[in-house]
């Protein structure tokens, strides 16, 4: 280069410029490296912690450790112990360690339908002492989509069994449906009896009213006939008494029917509420899963908003095709 610069003075200036450019480039590269290192927490003061699990599924080196949604650390390494347990080491930035007390636990959480897992620290009670380096924390897994689906299937099984058993018992000759049918027949019969009784009572009252009217008309003519009329009234009262007795029998019959209904309701009350409860929980789980799936990419993009569609033309109309 000096050889060239001795021939051309412009090359000496160029040499300085190239040197400056190279220095600036190296400086920028170093700065970027430092920034990345800071971002990665290489210079941060950290504390190493660990947890043990018997399944390393969804856990991998470098995965994030979070506290209340904040990234507070990273998974360092996974090793298989002599006793067969898997030990996982991770570090937490010391500035967040104040929030994690003794009694804290680590939970593996899945993000969305296809999302990666993260380790979430569930902080212990605030009155507990601080954690020390290399302390062993308890570990648990939150249900992922697969586990939720499995759980749903497991919870649906007893419901379906219950439905099958209940349906069978309902359809048996002495089952609930036949029982209800019998009760309904009793009701109908009772209704008919009551209707008949009402008509009978009305008839008796009308007849006796007529007789009483006649008796009263005649009372002015012949006082001695009053006794006879009174006797007739007595007969009418007796008949009314019989009618009242019949009404009492009917009320007893009603009471029996009501007792039957009570038994039917009581026998259903034992089995139906747990079924409904299970069904409600299962339906809610299913709705949550479907709702989450619908909101997750890429299913979200596959879901088309509903559109109003025109019915297909049928110029050989349904009316022509189906004789009424």
């Amino acid at each position: 280069m000096k050889l060239f610069s001795s021939h051309d003075s412009r090359l000496a200036v160029l040499e300085r410029k190239v040197g400056l450019f190279a220095f600036a480039g190296l400086g920028a590269l170093l700065l970027v490296f430092v920034i990345v290192a800071i971002e990665q927490g290489m210079f941060a003061s950290t504390t190493k912690l660990r947890f043990q699990t018997n399944d390393v599924g969804m856990i991998h080196e470098g995965m994030e450790v979070r506290l209340r949604g904040f990234k507070v650390g990273k998974l360092l390494g996974i090793s298989l112990k002599n006793d067969g347990a898997v030990e996982v080491q991770f570090f937490v930035d010391n500035k967040y360690l104040l929030h994690i007390r003794h009694g804290a636990k680590v939970r593996l959480v899945e993000q969305g339908l296809l999302g990666d897992g993260v380790l979430e620290i569930v902080p212990g009670p605030k009155d507990q002492p601080n954690l020390v380096a290399n302390e062993l924390l308890p570990f648990e897994r939150q249900f992922g989509m697969g586990e939720l689906a499995h759980e749903l299937v497991e919870r649906l099984k007893p419901i379906l069994d219950n439905v099958r058993v209940t349906t069978t018992s309902l359809n048996e000759p002495d089952g609930l449906i036949n029982h209800v049918k019998k009760v309904a027949v009793k009701f109908e019969k009772t209704g008919e009896d009551i209707s008949s009784l009402m008509q009978q009572t009305q008839g008796v009252i009308a007849e006796e009213n007529l007789k009483l009217g006649k008796a009263l008309d005649k009372s002015s003519e012949a006082v001695d006939k009053v006794g006879v009329a009174v006797d007739k009234v007595g007969v009418a009262v007796d008949k009314a008494g019989v009618a009242l007795d019949k009404a009492s029998i009917m009320i007893d019959s009603f009471h029996d029917v009501a007792q039957d209904v009570g038994k039917v309701t009581a026998s259903s009350a034992e089995s139906i509420p747990p079924m409904l409860q299970d069904g409600r929980v299962a339906a809610e789980d299913a709705r949550n899963i479907i709702s989450s799936a619908k909101d997750a990419w890429p299913i979200k993009n596959m879901m088309e908003p509903g559109e109003t569609i025109i019915l297909p033309m049928d110029s050989y109309g349904v009316t022509n095709a189906q004789p009424k």
Partner: protein
């Protein structure tokens, strides 16, 4: 130079890939809550209509129409009025059906899509044709063709209506040509029901022209589609027409088989009138099976 061009094409490829990726990742446009509600009602009404629950379909369409009118969704209003006209027609309210369709063509009108207006015109023509008002039916076919420009989805239906008009006027060659054009215009995937109608009409025209072989072929095609769609009334019609075609061709045994099948379908539908009609055809063949309707009358 070649290297530079190669580099440019690579960049273009990369940009295209990125654009496609963005397009794939983009979410569809979110509907407003009222439009969404109206669409749900409309979808429910469509399902009710296809299940033959016309009263329920009518009520849901009316509600969906009111919501769409409140936000001036012109395209949806036009579609719902068309569907509503179909529901009213099935409920035997022909005036209400015509009123819904007339509203689409009266002033002041919203900018309704021409394809829906073409469909509405075709429907009016069909109703006039059913009412034996041929001149009005023809005028609405022409109006529909004006909106359709031979390219819309009801182009095949308009040809089918022209074929029916020609058949009614005993212009059989012309009718056959329109029916054939309709078969060609109707898309097998999208317009199955109308395609089956076109095959059936083509078969009827062929039968009227004493071309039994062609009629049988057309009815068989119609029957295959109707079985696929699962429309008992039309399956019954196809079987009756197939029986008639075989009877005309002198194949009494085949005719008997088709009529018997038509009778079974009629009985399964619980249609006494339909069953009696088929028995009449069987009687003409001198074979009358016993009545066997076990379903609702």
């Amino acid at each position: 130079m070649v290297l530079q061009m190669h580099s440019q094409s690579n960049s273009a490829l990369l940009i295209s890939f990125c654009l496609m990726l963005v397009a794939c990742g983009s979410a569809p446009e979110k509907q407003n809550s009222r439009t969404e509600q109206a669409n749900k009602l409309s979808a429910r009404a469509d399902a009710a209509f296809l299940q033959g629950e016309f009263e329920s379909a009518k009520n849901d369409y009316l509600q969906a129409l009111r919501i769409n009118q409140s936000v001036e969704n012109a395209a949806e209003i036009a579609i719902i009025r068309f569907n509503l006209a179909r529901a009213f027609h099935e409920l035997a309210y022909p005036e209400q059906a015509h009123l819904q369709l007339d509203t689409l063509f009266s002033e002041p009108a919203l900018p309704y899509p021409p394809a829906t207006l073409a469909a509405a015109a075709a429907l009016k023509s069909q109703y006039y044709l059913e009412g034996k008002e041929s001149s009005l039916a023809l005028s609405w076919i022409e109006k529909g063709e004006g909106y359709c420009q031979k390219k819309c989805t009801v182009a095949g239906s308009l040809l089918l209506l022209r074929a029916q008009l020609a058949q009614r006027d005993n212009r059989l060659d012309e009718a056959q040509k329109f029916a054939d054009d309709a078969v060609a215009a109707l898309k097998p995937g999208m317009q199955q029901m109308e395609l089956a109608n076109a095959h059936r009409l083509s078969g009827e025209i062929s039968l009227a022209k004493n071309d039994s072989a062609r009629a049988i072929h057309s009815f068989q095609q119609a029957h295959a589609i109707d079985r696929k769609l699962g429309i008992p009334g039309k399956i019954r019609l196809d079987l009756m027409r197939l029986g008639a075609s075989h009877e005309r061709a002198g194949a009494a045994a085949a005719a008997l088989s088709y009529y018997s099948r038509a009778l079974t379908v009629s009985e399964a539908m619980g249609s006494k009138q339909g069953a009696d009609e088929v028995r009449g055809l069987l009687k003409a063949l001198q074979i009358i099976p016993e009545a066997n309707i076990s379903g609702p009358q």
